[in-house]
Symmetry: C2
Subunit: 345 residues, 2 copies
């Protein structure tokens, strides 16, 4: 249970179309719920845009979040929206610094839900030392949205030691995964289907920025490629890498770490954990020289204590991802055609 600041007194207990009009209602909502809570010197200018100084290499990323349900075990749409964009920046080798925050609210959203989401956003911004510096709020009629959609875009400063590119990936490089997979997708699906397991399966939503920066500081150019396997899971991210290089990617079913509860739920739903979304996991392709050391280093950090080596880059089956099964057979793992799980993030 996270302690939250008490919600300010308001004259309204739901969001209405008037809150998106740019008039007094909009101004009051923004002042009480956004500007007062997410305060920083740049946001305080309350302009349509924020102005800052930058010297160096920047990363820029955007994501819209439409997850259903908006509250789930382990987090809410606010965690996803902030962690997701911070993680995308981390995958570019960047330390996140500035975020934009844009809401599309549905008429009728309980103001208490909006408050809880803002409090989550506030907590992560403080923890991760990032500032929300510009934003937008729109309201749509009932039945023209779904409670709340959030877009975050982010700007980060790329670590000078980072040199991340599929073009640098070579044969024998190791494919490492930072944590056990499948928690987020299974958490959302269990909620939606109303399934109860012995223990609640929590989303793994978390910010991996600090641990990624620590790795870049320590291993520099030996880290060649980073990606967070969200929608479509590990198999989709590795398929994208395989398409971008002239080699194959070979992974081992035996090496895969999947929590027992997640594995059970996957069987129940008929899902392959390799395709299930994660929100706090990253894949790193690294030179073999540092692979063992980096796995140990990751395992010594809470965010990545279950890190493991999943496979390697190989000459066989160029541009394909292949999986060696537990009984020794090898098969090609392709991208899924359509949706495994809609509105997972």
């Amino acid at each position: 249970m996270t302690l939250e600041c008490p919600m300010p007194q308001t004259e309204f207990d739901i969001i209405t179309l008037g809150h998106g009009s740019g008039g007094q209602l909009s101004a009051k909502l923004l002042q009480q719920f956004v500007f007062n809570e997410l305060t920083n010197p740049l946001l305080a200018t309350q302009h349509d845009g924020a102005v800052f100084e930058a010297h160096g290499t920047l990363a820029f990323s955007t994501d819209s979040y439409v997850v259903n349900p908006i509250f789930f075990p382990g987090g809410n749409i606010g965690d996803l929206a902030i962690n997701g964009t911070l993680n995308d920046l981390a995958m570019c080798g960047a330390t996140p610094k500035y975020l934009s925050l844009s809401f599309i609210l549905e008429d009728g959203l309980p103001i208490q839900d909006f408050w809880r989401i803002i409090q989550t956003i506030k907590r992560i911004c403080i923890e991760q030392k990032v500032w929300i510096i510009t934003g937008d709020t729109k309201v749509v009629e009932k039945g023209k949205g779904d409670k709340i959609f959030i877009n975050t875009s982010g700007i980060g400063f790329v670590n000078a030691k980072a040199s991340l590119s599929a073009a640098r990936v070579e044969i024998d490089d190791c494919v490492m995964v930072s944590h056990a997979i499948g928690f987020h997708g299974i958490s959302i699906l269990s909620q939606r289907e109303g399934l109860q397991f012995e223990t609640e399966i929590k989303s793994d939503t978390r910010c991996v920025s600090s641990i990624v920066q620590a790795c870049l500081e320590r291993y520099g150019q030996d880290i060649k490629w980073l990606r967070d396997p969200t929608r479509g899971g590990v198999a989709t991210s590795l398929n994208e890498l395989a398409e971008a290089i002239d080699f194959g990617i070979s992974i081992e079913e035996n090496a895969l770490k999947v929590d027992g509860l997640v594995k059970g739920a996957c069987s129940l739903f008929g899902l392959d954990p390799l395709f299930v979304a994660n929100e706090g996991v990253f894949i790193a392709v690294v030179s073999p020289a540092i692979a063992e050391d980096m796995v140990l280093f990751l395992q010594n950090n809470k965010e990545s204590e279950l890190a493991f080596i999943l496979g390697k880059i190989c000459a066989d089956h160029p541009k394909k991802l292949t999986l060696k099964s537990k009984i020794g057979g090898r098969r090609v793992v392709t991208k899924l055609l359509g949706d495994q799980l809609p509105r997972i993030c």
Copy 2:
């Protein structure tokens, strides 16, 4: 009638949930409709984020667009989404350079509509020399969205001659408006209400970046404050300025330029044009020394040929916006409480 490239052959004629899954359908849609069309070297990396060099003062802005209908006289949601964010950056004194583009599509959106919107986005990006460098696409179920919502966030480079801040506004500074007001709001409302006027009232959606940069080059620090009066119109923007300064703002009804058709429609709908949304107009507060010259300069440019001086900063009625009516009375113009026109942008 704008000529558009023919739409590529597709196996689907509507957007489905599978297009938002991160699998093969997503990849195909993005490749054919987004990457091939909005191509540039940074987008081509197809990473979750884009990396670029920056040295100087940057502006960062975001907006989500939920306009209904998505096609209207004079433009579509694509024009709004790009022009709107470019204009927000322009109001910070910045030349826009990089944009993110994020879609929330409703299951069932005709693929032809998506194509038309992408073509509009492509055209404006080429005209304005900006690059879409990162993006995202989500799909929600029928009845959980409304055809298409677009978020754009933008990064621009602030002109070294710009010094824009409400704190620099002084008594006797002139309040200038770059064009006749009210076109966008009335265009949308007429469409929604199914009203036909003798001549179609077109949205004024346009990018004002070039003309703003030309003014900043010419007048530098004599331009003290800029804002584009979108949602809530000129009266809302000027109220926000009034709250931020210790002076009053006095405007003249006689000076106001409103097109005859827009004026007629406003009467019909019971709207005050001062509160109607614009999408191609900016307000500039400038020192009196350059005001006359700047109006003439603006009038010599197509984007701002109806520029006019609306009023000035004064000592009376501090923190209030007051309007001198045609018959000479003066009244305070406050912000609207709630919505005049929901989903106008």
